[in-house]
Amino acid sequence: MKPNKVFHASLITIVMIYLFIPLVATFLYSISTDWYRTILPEGYTLSWYKELFTDPRFLDAMQRTLFVCFLAICISVTVMVPTIFIVTVYFSRWERTLQGLVMLPYAIPGVVAAVGLIKLYSSGPIVLSGSIWILIGAYFVIVLPYMYQGIRNSMRTIDAIKLVEAAELLGASRMQAFWKVIFPNILTGIIVSTLLSFSTLFGEFVLANLLVGGHYETMQIYLIRRMSESGHLTSAIVVTYFILLFALSGIVMRLGKSSSKEGSR
C-alpha cells in the first residue's frame, strides 16, 4: 500500500506543478521589475497594477465587459427561468425539443456561430453588425446550456411537478405556486447558473472579436492588444482577471455544495 501512495502523490504533484507553472509565472511576471536576463526576477514592484488600475482604457474595457455580460445574463435569467418552469411543469412533451435547442450551442464553436450571425445581420432588413446587440444575442445563446442545466437540475431535485400540484391543490394559482414554492427553492440553482455563465462570458474572446471587435473593446480584446506592448502590464491584467474568476468559481462551488447537501437529506 505504501509505495502505491507515494506513486499517486508524486504523480498528482507533478501534474499540479505543471498546471500551475503558467499561473505562477504570470503572477511573478506581473510583480517583477525586469525579468529577461535572470532565472528569477531582478526586483519586485506593484507599479504594473498601479499603472493598470489608473489606465482609463482598462477601466473602460472592464466596464464594457461587465455591461455586456450583465445585460446578456439578465435577459437570459428572465427568459429562461419561466421557460424552463413552464416546459417542465406544464408542457413536458416539449422537453426534448427544449433540451435539443439549448444544448446545441455546446457543439457549435464560437467561430462557426459567428459566420451566420455576421452574414445575417450585416445586410438585409435588420442590420446589427458592429452593435453590441448582436453580441448580447450571441451571448444569450452561448449561456443557454449552463442556464438550462443548472435550473433544470434544481427543479428536478425538488421535484417541481409534485410541488406545483401540491400547491395548486391547496388553492395556489400558477403564479403563486411559482413565486412562493418553486422560486425560493431553485434560487441557489439560478445563482450558480448565473455565476457559471458569467465566468464563461467574462473570458469570451472569439465572438467579441469577430462581431464587434473593431468598435467595442472588451477586456479580452484589450488584453490581446496590450500583449505586444508590455508583458508586465498584460500579466497584471491576466492576474486580475484570474482573481475575479477564482472568486466566482469559489462561490459557485460553495453554493453547489450546500445545495446538494440539502437536496440529499
Partner: protein, 273 residues
C-alpha cells in the same frame, strides 16, 4: 404559452436563423451568385484549406491523446486520496480549466516564448534542444492545447472512475484476480466508454479552439478555425460563402464527436446505473 415567446424569438434570431443562413450560404457561388457545391469543392480540393483542416485535425488528435493519457493516471490517483484532498484537487483542476484562450497563450509566451523564462533557463543550462522549442509551430500549439485539455479531461474522467466500486475490486481479489487482471477484465472495460466519450469531447474542444491559437500565432498558422475567422472578418476580403462551407465541415466534425460522447455516456449510465 405566451411566456414562451421571448425564448422562441431569441433562439430563432440568434441560434437557428444564423445557422440556417450559414448552411444556405455554403451552397452559394462566390459573391452569393447561384447555387451549388462549389464552395465545398473548393474547401476540399484546395491545398491551402486541406492543410488547415489536417493541421487542426492532427493537432487536436495529438493534444487530446496526450491530455487523456495524463488524465487517465491523474484522475485515478485523485480517487486514491481522502475526501478532503479529493475535493481540493478537483477544485484546483476546476480552477486551471478556466485558464485558456488569450490569457493562456500569453502565459505560454512568457514561459516558452523566444525570451521566455524556461527558454532562458534551458539556455543557461545548455539544453539547446529544449531551448529551441518554437512555440509558434505545430509542436508549440500542441503543447499549449495539452495544457487546457488536462484539467478538463481530469474533471470529465473522475466521475467514471468513481463508478468503480471498491467492492468489485474486493470480490475480484477474493476470486483470485491480481491487480493487473482486475484492470484488464473489469476496470478498463467499465471505464472505456467514459474514456472514449471524454476523448471525443476533448477533440471537439480542440477543433473549435480559436482564441488560444489566434492569440498565439495570429493569422500565421493554418488552422481551420483561424481560416474561418479571417474569411468572415479578416484582413482579406470577406468570403462568407466559403467560410460557411468550412464552418459546416467543422460543425459536422464537432457534432459527430459530441454524438459519440452522448452515445458513450448513455452506455456508462446504463452500466453504472
Amino acid at each position: 404559452m405566451l411566456s414562451l415567446l421571448p425564448f422562441a424569438f431569441l433562439v430563432l434570431c440568434f441560434e437557428l436563423l444564423p445557422l440556417l443562413v450559414m448552411v444556405l450560404e455554403s451552397f452559394r457561388g462566390d459573391g452569393g451568385v447561384g447555387w451549388g457545391l462549389e464552395q465545398y469543392t473548393k474547401a476540399l480540393t484546395s491545398k491551402y484549406y486541406l492543410q488547415g483542416l489536417s493541421n487542426s485535425f492532427f493537432i487536436s488528435l495529438c493534444a487530446s491523446a496526450v491530455g487523456i493519457v495524463v488524465a487517465l493516471f491523474a484522475a485515478y490517483s485523485i480517487t486514491r486520496f481522502s475526501q478532503r484532498m479529493r475535493d481540493f484537487l478537483l477544485m484546483l483542476s476546476n480552477m486551471t480549466s478556466n485558464f485558456s484562450g488569450v490569457p493562456l497563450a500569453f502565459a505560454y509566451i512568457i514561459i516558452l516564448g523566444s525570451n521566455g523564462l524556461f527558454t532562458l533557463l534551458f539556455k543557461q543550462l545548455g539544453w539547446t534542444t529544449l531551448a529551441s522549442i518554437d512555440l509558434f509551430s505545430w509542436f508549440g500549439l500542441v503543447c499549449v492545447y495539452v495544457y487546457f485539455q488536462i484539467p478538463l479531461a481530469i474533471l470529465l474522467l473522475y466521475p467514471t472512475y468513481y463508478g468503480i466500486h471498491q467492492q468489485w475490486r474486493e470480490s475480484a481479489a477474493l476470486l483470485g484476480a491480481s491487480t493487473v487482471q482486475f484492470w484488464r477484465y473489469i476496470g478498463l472495460p467499465v471505464i472505456l466508454p467514459g474514456v472514449v466519450g471524454t476523448f471525443s469531447i476533448l477533440f471537439a474542444n480542440a477543433m473549435g479552439a480559436y482564441a488560444t491559437a489566434y492569440a498565439l500565432v495570429g493569422g500565421n498558422y493554418n488552422l481551420i478555425a483561424i481560416r474561418i475567422g479571417s474569411l468572415v472578418a479578416g484582413d482579406v476580403a470577406a468570403r462568407p460563402e466559403l467560410a460557411g462551407a468550412l464552418a459546416v465541415i467543422l460543425a459536422i466534425t464537432m457534432v459527430t464527436a459530441m454524438l459519440i460522447n452522448e452515445w458513450m455516456m448513455r452506455r456508462v449510465r446504463r452500466e453504472l446505473g
